[in-house]
């Protein structure tokens, strides 16, 4: 069997070689000129054969319904032409059949994966992020009580029939004392559990949007016939919008549904985001089970004792002062409060009952470099109540440790792990292959552990990926490089967000049998703070971007 790459190229070459005739026979030219002469005298009639696409383009004045009917007929006819073995079908029919097939389901269990961050917003995507598993359950019991759960490693949403909790690990939570519908808290994937509604929305959209590109075809998978429905969806924010491609709905994307031909059940869904040079698989259902027993414990949450609960900002005694603040003033006041470690003041811009110790350690003692001009995104907060405010801050220096080893064939020091100031491991760096013996290996072999840590951070500040690979594993550099490219697309100034480092000392640890280098990291951050004032107190609170 020919390999994949060759067969298409060969076929194209075969086409090109076999077209030795470059001009039509004279008879054909003469016939054509005759036809044109006749046609010039006639007005356009429906006997003129246009492709289906051209008919739709030409029928601009037709009503949407009529155009939709043509689309459905066009798809119907093309399905018939392609394969006479299947009965007449259309995208609308496939969707209707699938809706009917799920009409009596009482439980759904979906396993999916999504390019997102484990603890971030459920709908947030990143084209260069790794896949994160998202698992979901929904159950309706005999009395009609609906319960559901949507979970990824760092964030869980549970509705037990009476209350709804969003739990962000390790200890942050939002409690609503009522059952919220699927899709709450931006859980884009959660909406998929309402399979019937999902398909019905798709069906209605197909009928109401004749311009939407849809294609339908059969595919054999492991000996079984499947129906594949592809639907193109346009982004709901314009090109250049800050949140473009940060959420599925804010991207031009393709949904690929898979249905079983026999049972008509939805079996899979893939979502691809379109970029300039490729389609990126951003979401995929990897498994769906219908009508299986789901344990009651799935709809219960084990919460830690030190929960930090989100609360809507309450009206302060001097609320008016904060209400009147412009976005820029609010951000400046917030960051100044952090700089002064005035946590009571900072809390006025916070959307939970307390600022946890981790955040205090991160933000406390910062230095404000600049606050930029606020801007808005069409995809963020309604009624103009949400803003993004550019900021640049320098964080309080943090002490860290790097673990190094020169026990390799190149005989030079490389970094094998990162530790915090208390010598607690933060990250192991796995060298899949031995460090390379470099062309100028002697120079690097002579470097002390302190010089290596300095050289690595210098290379990082320059975004010199090749130089960085001499000190840390290539796979780590690759991830950083991808992350930087993704951030650059969101106009994040990467180099302004990289820390500078002051190496302090090196030492041998008997406990770890390794060399360590202690250094001080002067973190910087240049990004956009998301703030919104759609709350009862009508004052700006921080919503993200830290």
């Amino acid at each position: 069997m020919k390999n994949k790459k060759d067969i298409l190229a060969e076929a194209i070459n075969a086409f090109k070689i076999d077209s030795a005739t470059t001009a039509p026979p004279q008879e054909t030219i003469d016939t054509t000129i005759e036809k044109l002469a006749k046609a010039k005298d006639k007005s356009y009639t429906s006997q003129q054969r246009l492709t289906f696409t051209e008919r739709i383009v030409a029928m601009k004045r037709f009503s949407k319904l009529a155009a939709a009917a043509v689309i459905i007929i066009a798809v119907t006819v093309s399905i018939n032409l392609l394969d006479k073995s299947i009965p007449t079908a259309s995208a609308a029919q496939v969707l209707q059949d699938a809706i009917d097939a799920v009409s009596d389901i009482w439980s759904v269990h979906m396993k999916t994966r999504m390019r997102t961050l484990p603890r971030d917003n459920f709908s947030n995507i990143g084209l260069s992020y790794d896949f994160v598993p998202v698992e979901m359950w929904k159950r309706t019991n005999e009395t009609g009580l609906v319960q559901w759960r949507v979970e990824k490693p760092g964030r869980v949403l549970v509705m037990d029939g009476q209350t709804t909790i969003m739990f962000i690990r390790p200890n942050y939570g939002v409690l609503k004392e009522r059952p919220l519908p699927l899709g709450c808290f931006d859980s884009w994937s959660g909406r998929l559990l309402n399979v019937r509604e999902l398909l019905d929305n798709e069906l209605q959209t197909a009928k109401n949007n004749p311009d939407r590109e849809v294609s339908l075809w059969h595919k054999e998978i492991e000996g079984q016939d499947k129906i594949i429905l592809e639907v193109e969806v346009a982004a709901n924010v314009p090109e250049g919008d800050y949140l473009r491609n940060s959420f599925i709905t804010h991207s031009d994307h393709l949904k690929v549904y898979q249905f079983d031909t026999e049972t008509k059940l939805l079996e899979g869904l893939q979502v691809y985001v379109h970029t300039d040079d490729k389609d990126v698989l951003i979401f995929e259902i990897t498994d769906i089970e219908y009508n299986t027993e789901i344990d009651d414990n799935v709809f219960a949450l084990d919460l830690p004792e030190n929960m930090n609960w989100h609360g809507k900002p309450k009206k302060l005694s001097n609320n008016e002062k904060y209400q009147k603040m412009t976005p820029k003033e609010a951000v400046k006041t917030f960051f100044q409060a952090c700089a002064d470690e005035n946590w009571n003041e900072a809390l006025k811009f916070w959307s939970s009952s307390q600022i946890d110790d981790r955040m205090k350690k991160y933000l406390g003692g910062l230095t404000i470099i600049s606050i930029g001009e606020p801007f808005q995104s069409q995809g963020y907060a309604q009624n103009g109540l949400g803003w993004f405010v550019p900021y640049e801050i320098r964080l309080r220096p943090v002490e860290r440790n790097a673990r190094l080893s020169n026990e390799n064939s190149a005989g030079r020091f490389v970094i094998t792990g990162w530790y915090d100031d208390k010598m607690q491991p933060q990250e192991e760096l796995k060298w899949a292959n031995e460090p390379e013996i470099l062309a100028d290996n002697d120079t690097y072999a002579k470097m002390s552990p302190e010089e290596v840590v300095n050289a690595y951070h210098d290379a990082l500040l320059r975004l010199d990926w090749d130089e960085m690979r001499k000190f840390v594993p290539g796979s780590d550099v690759n991830k950083m490089e991808q992350g930087c490219k993704a951030a650059a697309k969101h106009n994040v100034d990467i180099q302004k967000n990289l820390p500078t480092v002051e190496v302090m000392k090196s030492f041998w640890s008997e406990e770890h049998s390794s060399y360590f280098v202690t250094y001080r990291e002067f973190g910087a951050k240049k990004f956009n703070l998301a703030i919104r004032k759609d709350n009862p107190a009508k004052r700006f609170v921080v919503d993200g971007g830290l």
Binding site: I7, A11, T32, A39, T53, L82
Partner: protein, 170 residues
């Protein structure tokens, strides 16, 4: 006033090559050739045509693909007659010629299974050697959409060609 006789004579090679490459049959290619120019005339009545080569390439491709769909929908394997009724190939050796013909037939069949725009973009790129910019202008789409259409077309075509090859133990 447009001189259609002149347009036909000037663009005949382009339209003929496009049609013949896809249909590999003089009679079908001749039909496609005429229909392409007649459609161009109708379009020119509704709007000003700025780029005749692009329009004609698009129309010829679309018509040829439509004709291929009709051909294969009749569920008769025509490889023995229509696809082989061709001018001698430049390939040396009868075995290689036969293989080349087989691949052409498979690619034609596979093209009919693509959505219209994907098939058009593919043909304009790989049979008419148009650039992404030219294809985008011809099909009235963005350059990035052109890239997406081509990527998907190639992926699907490779899949179909491999399946066909494995079924026939090529």
């Amino acid at each position: 006033m447009t001189n259609w006789e002149q347009i036909v004579k000037k663009h005949a090679p382009l339209v003929w090559q496009t049609a013949y490459r896809l249909l590999s049959n003089e009679a079908d290619a001749a039909d496609c050739f005429s229909e392409t120019f007649v459609s161009a005339l109708e379009i020119s009545r509704r709007q000003r045509v700025r780029n005749f080569p692009a329009l004609l390439a698009r129309l010829a491709t679309a018509r040829a693909i439509d004709q291929l769909r009709r051909r294969y929908a009749k569920s008769q394997i025509r490889t023995n007659t229509e696809d082989l009724a061709a001018i001698p190939s430049a390939n040396p050796g009868p075995a290689q010629q036969a293989q080349s013909k087989e691949l052409q037939t498979r690619l034609r069949k596979a093209l009919t299974k693509l959505p219209q725009k994907q098939a058009q973009a593919f043909c304009l790129r790989y049979l008419n050697d148009m650039s992404y910019v030219q294809i985008a202008k011809t099909l009235d789409i963005t350059i990035s959409t052109t890239g997406v259409l081509l990527l998907r077309a190639k992926t699907k075509l490779k899949q179909l060609l491999e399946t066909a090859a494995s079924e026939e133990n090529l």
